[in-house]
Amino acid sequence: MAMTATAGRAHADPHHIGVVIEHPGPAPKRTVTAYGFWVFLLSDIVMFSCFFAAYAVLSGQTAGGPKGSEIFEQRNVAIETVCLLLSSFTCGMASIAADVRNRFWFYLGMTVTCVLGLIFLVIEFREFSDLVARGYGPSRSAFLSSFFSLVGCHGLHVSAGILWLLTMMAQVFAKGFRADVLRRMMCFALFWHALDIVWVGVFSVVYLLGSGV
């Protein structure tokens, strides 16, 4: 726009602090999408923190039922953790492959991520069904309610993540590495890594602390 610079500049620094950094204008779409998704992830972590808080409040309320140390199996949890951490690595590989537009490594990375995620889910499902079969279901005590909800909420997120992962693979297959597909891939990667971070919290607060008591 043609404007006389001198007329406007008088107002640029109304409080005379001496520094005027002009805002460059709207951010590019990729930045906006990633930023919005970060904000969503923060809100999701707030939701998780409520379940963490509930677990912290209720973890001692066993109502005569089992304590954490009586039902947690560290070997299974170790395998779960390895699977999930490894899947974050392979997800990162898939992201890099997407950035360099390499279909083979993209599909490979996503497939391994998917398999690792599924292994995690199967182990978790077996842990849950085993507990229920022993009569230690979520309605047994407040402790078990909060345990099933916190771990289950994470599991639900992983399940949704796998659904998303498969959709992303299908999108790349059908549409190729289009700009909007790449943006979604970036969001998916952020989501998957965030689930890893939440799992580190679950692992520490629920399984590590719980095994000692």
Binding site: M1, V32, S139, K175
Partner: protein, 666 residues
Amino acid sequence: MLGKLDWSAIPFDQPIPLIAGAIVLVAILAVLIWVVAKGHLPYLWHEWITSVDHKRIGVMYILLASVMLLRGGSDAIMMRIQQAVAYQSQGFLPPEHYNQIFSAHGTIMIFFVAMPFVIGLMNLIVPLQLGVRDVAFPTLNSVGFWLTATGALLVNLSLVVGEFARTGWLAFPPLSQLSYSPGVGVDYYAWSLQISGVGTLVAGINLVTTVLKLRTKGMNYLRMPMFCWTTLASNLLIVAAFPILTATLAMLLLDRYLGFHFFTNEAGGNVMMFMNLIWAWGHPEVYILVLPAFGIFSEVVSTFSGKPLFGYRSMVLATMAICVISFMVWLHHFFTMGAGPDVNAIFGIASMIIAVPTGVKIYNWLFTMYGGRIRFATPMLWAVGFMVTFIIGGLTGVLVAVPPADFMLHNSMFLVAHFHNVIIGGVLFGAFAGFEYWFPKAFGFRLDERWGKAAFWFTFLGFYVTFLPLYIAGMLGMTRRLQHYDVAAWRPWMFVAAFGVLILSIGVICQIMQIVVSIRNREALRDRTGDPWDGRSLEWATSSPPPVFNFAFYPDVRGEDAYWDMKASAQQQSLEHEPPEYRDIEMPRNSPTGFICAFFATIMGFALIWHIWWMVILGGIGAFATFVVFAWRDHDEYVIPADEVAAIDRVNLEERRGLVSMAGTI
């Protein structure tokens, strides 16, 4: 096959909900028939229902809020009449119905009136004030609106199919647990809030990203209009607080549906955890509502005083201080529930501290008016009415923030009067001020001033006649939510309050008349320049209503009060001398994703409430499929050619020419 749903869900024996439901149904059918018969359906579908234009979505939010205001208002009228007549008698509402009414009144007024009204105004105005063409995520914006509408639909469905919660608007356990509330009322409550809560979260993420990442050239943080700042603060609170509501209601639902023990009396459940969680959301929620209203008043007071906002930076600081402190006061909602004197003292002090930034704001508005050339147009009346009313509400708030005083006033009518004083006097007056102020921007013609002023005075007066008696009744020991009572001393005050509701209703009628009259006289009230109030921020720099792309060029901002500066230095004129080079503009394409998503969410919510599991799965698959289909489309933008942009923009520049040259001389 249909879960818990059968014919007994329809209250054939209760005339009030049945007749009300029938009237609403007939009204909806009549509107639908009119729309179809007149051939407006394609227009409605293409231009509104599937629209991803932030202005259209904002208008739809406000429309939803206005309709729900009538519903919540009818509940209020029934409650006031009930308490006026139910002295040593049962009145006309049986207890189980009365309890549903006060629960629905609170739920609807907060979630489906106040929330959509402020979110609608933010949607409508914030991108314009920031000088950009849309919000960060236009399609998600539409999804958010339609999910909010789904929640409202489910709450209103409970009027005729089944029942609503009888637990109050926050459904405290153990009353809201299955053992004490076995019906579907609490499920209606919880699922509609879960669904609309997702919609609110989406709106929050969208607006935070818009304010932080989409601003025009030179729109530094400390040049944003106050409304953008309060929008930022309010939506940060949405992002931080609404997940707490989602988690809390999820726990309550797990208790009810799957026999979990989060908030039960047995097996180690902890009822106080519900209080802490729900108020950790609930207190920020009141600031989510009132901060945008503060922003509206800032714009209105500054515009109608013809002065820049006094103490702009202190206003920004106060807004962000409220944003942070609002998370540190939640316990004052249950001082009486045994937290002990130390904890109570800390939260009492925190609650009093939050009055300080609010006081800063009041003084800033007063000093903005001081020495200004004040025009008492309708928006300004609402702003001044707010200042007077809100101070009273704030003072009674500081009073109940003192724990020993709160022990006397907890759950009394005094409290009811207090929060209506701040919500009506703050949020609703703010919403009305914003409505009057920005209506010309949205529709291209002003609202009738005579009816607007009448609406203000009746509402203002009606508010005091209704709620000051409730303070007194509370002082006389009357507790809230009484279906009937035997204390003679309360009765006169209940009569006065019922009379006050009558005055308030006249205010509402004036408001409706104002819209009707204004639409009829729209040619005389037409705003051709796009700047009917001699405004200061960028929304007035474009035509009314703005073109779909808002601005032909991203405005170049050089200071606070961006548009005022442009007018003062007559930059628009220099723009006319050298014909600008118009370029093609890309805009997001409309999409039915939001509407279809909400359709499936409605099915899913209804099925969950009535335990119709196959329908839940169907709804879930439908919603997921909708998203995949949306993700699959190849063209999500369309291009408005430069010629068309030029043609639209030149008309507005022509109309504005006289205005700009005039502003330059003042």
